[in-house]
């Protein structure tokens, strides 16, 4: 008898069926693990759960899924599975499952991950969700499968925040949106005729911070995603930019030029009290926290070109971190604190996403397109989302930390930019 653990997803975001971003896998790792994902049986509220799981796993670059027409059978559970039938397909792992409408209008989704060579079940779980969480359930299952097979936590149930610039009645408008990590279910949380930039997440995933020009001048706002409640936290004279929450959520690093030129400050979120961190006539901006909350990395042109520096919050001592190339800017720090992702320009006039190992100082350029920017680590640190440009239009890209897997996410309307990958979100 199988025992299923029952889970309930508690996400509150509303569901939209149209995909704002289009996924296109441009490069996959050649050592991807083969896997078979059978379309789920039973009532499907929208896209088949199995198809969503399969697309998630393939998009990670770590898996190569067997095409549906090469599946030797369509089982929906391990009960009575004919293992012999699956011996010749060249994969060791099989995902099966089913969906059933419940009496109260929800869906019970069961999924299993099976090892074909060992003839054992690695995972067997069930979730009951309302129709609004149909895709959440599939992403949750994909996360569980990814973790069971790779040892790393999956990021399919996370979200990406980004800015969409779109045409409206002959004018340009700006939207702040969040979408699932696969580009589906975009949700606009701010819509403005003036630019929006530098969006970022609070560490608990409940709030976002961003810069908006809606008053005609830059100001920093925070906004609760669920309640829409907004707070203007900085509208000083001059620049108000680059907000970024501390890992504990209690502080916000930001850039202000109220004292003459762009400097980095830390704001206590509760009291809005400011502490100045940098003091230099050069540009200091784009702060990001180290995971321990004890230092910041930031962009400065104090050495003549823009480079990444680190400042310790104990003694405010500044240390230069990047030396390769004549522009290094807008760093993001990997969740384990080991890697810096940044925008790097070598002599060839190209702005590309690069990753620098902070232990060795070695820099690895990950992207090949000429105007890439705004790298943001996935919460498991295995990949980055970034902004790129295809012809006249901005689009998003996802690249694995080793550069071997690339995915494009073009917008259906207008252009998209400034992606920020969410932290892990509750269930």
């Amino acid at each position: 008898m199988l025992r299923f653990s029952t889970l309930l997803l508690l996400l509150t975001l509303s569901s939209l069926s149209r995909a704002e971003l289009v996924i296109e896998i441009t490069r996959g790792a050649d050592d991807a693990l083969p896997i078979a994902v059978v379309p789920f049986s039973g009532t499907q509220a929208s896209d088949n759960i199995g198809s969503i799981i399969k697309a998630d796993l393939e998009r990670s670059g770590r898996f190569r899924a067997l095409p549906d027409n090469q599946l030797p059978a369509q089982p929906d559970s391990s009960t009575g599975l004919n293992y012999a039938q699956w011996q010749s397909i060249g994969t060791n792992h099989l995902v099966v499952g089913s969906s059933k409408a419940t009496a109260d209008g929800r869906y019970e989704i069961r999924f299993e991950l099976l090892s074909l060579d060992r003839k054992t079940r690695l995972l067997g779980e069930a979730l009951t969700v309302p129709v609004s969480q149909w895709r959440d359930a599939a992403h949750f299952a994909a996360d569980r499968i990814f973790e069971a097979l790779t040892g790393a936590r999956g990021i399919f149930a996370t979200k990406i925040l980004y800015v969409n610039q779109y045409p409206h009645n002959g004018k340009v408008r700006y939207r702040l949106e969040l979408a699932d990590a696969d580009g589906f279910r975009p949700l606009s949380i701010l819509d403005s005729p003036e630019p929006i930039l530098s969006p970022g997440w609070s560490p608990d995933g409940r709030k976002v911070a961003y810069v908006s020009f809606e008053s005609g001048r830059p100001a920093i706002y925070t906004q609760n995603i669920a309640t829409q409640q907004r707070t203007r936290i900085a509208s000083f004279s001059g620049l108000n930019g680059a907000p970024t929450w501390s890992p504990d959520g209690g502080r916000m690093a930001l850039t202000l030029s109220r004292d003459g030129n762009p400097e980095i400050y830390i704001m206590d979120v509760a009291t809005q009290a400011l502490t100045r961190v940098t003091n230099h006539a050069a540009i200091d901006t784009e702060p990001r926290w180290m995971p321990d909350g004890k230092s910041l990395v930031f962009t400065s042109d104090r050495g003549g070109t823009a480079q990444i520096y680190k400042v310790s919050l104990d003694d405010l001592k500044v240390k230069r971190l990047t030396f390769e190339g004549n522009f290094n800017g807008r760093a993001d720090v990997s969740p384990d604190g080991r890697y810096l992702a940044l925008v790097n320009r070598q002599r060839g006039q190209q702005y590309q996403i690069a990753v620098q190992d902070m232990n060795t100082g070695v820099m690895n350029v990950l992207t090949q397109t000429p105007l890439d920017e705004s790298p943001s680590f996935a919460p498991n640190g295995l990949s980055l989302v970034y902004a790129s440009r295809k012809g006249k239009y901005g689009e998003l890209g996802i690249v694995s930390l080793d550069g071997r897997t690339q995915v494009r996410l073009p917008a259906r309307l207008g252009e998209v930019r400034e992606p920020a990958w969410s932290p892990y979100l509750r269930p």
């Binding site: 949380i189 701010l190 530098s198 020009f213 809606e214 409640q229 823009a306 522009f327 705004s374």
Partner: protein, 205 residues
């Protein structure tokens, strides 16, 4: 002359436009907002356009006044080259966009005469107000470009105050790379986007 009167009128028209703009601004959404999106309506933009039109009208009026003033000044002058100088000044004041090199905030030599004319105008028209808007091209990172745009705007503002304008007449705003003058990649586009624009909000010459 009665230029100051025109400036007062211009300021009045402008402030009406601005008032319309601010009163139609959608209030910030609060926790009770039923809407899924915090929407800033097109009314904002319509109001801004109305303000811009009022500003343009005011600018034309003020420009006519300035031309009249300069002309009468030159007629009253015994010096034969006064009219030429007035024409030069008017032409210099017509230049309101100033371009910069890549990742650079140094003023180019060909903009100095025009900036001096603006400084002279501002020093002689204490009611005039100008927003000094700094911009960057799309290359590099956005917040760095925001800082770079500010550095350029401040270079222009410093030159204006160094040549007679009062600091209280100037407001520096950087838009970074968010409001390009022209779309598209390539040095031709980028060169047009690395700029500072003088936007007179009162007493447009």
């Amino acid at each position: 002359m009665n230029l100051s009167k025109f400036n007062v009128i211009a300021a009045a028209i402008l402030s009406m436009g601005l008032a319309a703009c601010t009163t139609t601004k959608a209030p910030e959404a609060n926790g009770a907002a039923a809407s899924a999106v915090v929407q800033q309506s097109d009314a904002d933009r319509a109001a801004a356009e109305a303000a811009a039109k009022a500003k343009a009208d005011a600018a034309r009026t003020a420009a006519a006044a300035e031309a009249a003033r300069l002309q009468s000044q030159s007629l009253n002058s015994a010096q034969s080259d006064a009219a030429t100088r007035a024409n030069d000044l008017a032409a210099s004041l017509g230049m309101k966009t100033f371009y910069f090199g890549y990742d650079d905030a140094n003023l180019q030599s060909d903009v100095i005469n025009s900036l001096k004319a603006h400084a002279f105008y501002l020093s002689n028209n204490s009611g005039a107000r100008v927003q000094v808007n700094g911009h960057a091209d799309e290359r590099g990172t956005r917040e760095y470009n925001m800082a770079l745009g500010e550095r350029r705007a401040k270079a222009v503002a410093a030159f204006l105050t160094g040549n007679g304008a009062r600091a209280s007449q100037l407001e520096v705003v950087s838009y970074g790379e968010e409001k390009p003058a022209v779309a598209g990649e390539g040095e031709e586009s980028w060169a047009k986007n690395r700029r500072v624009e003088l936007d007179y909000t009162a007493g447009n010459p």
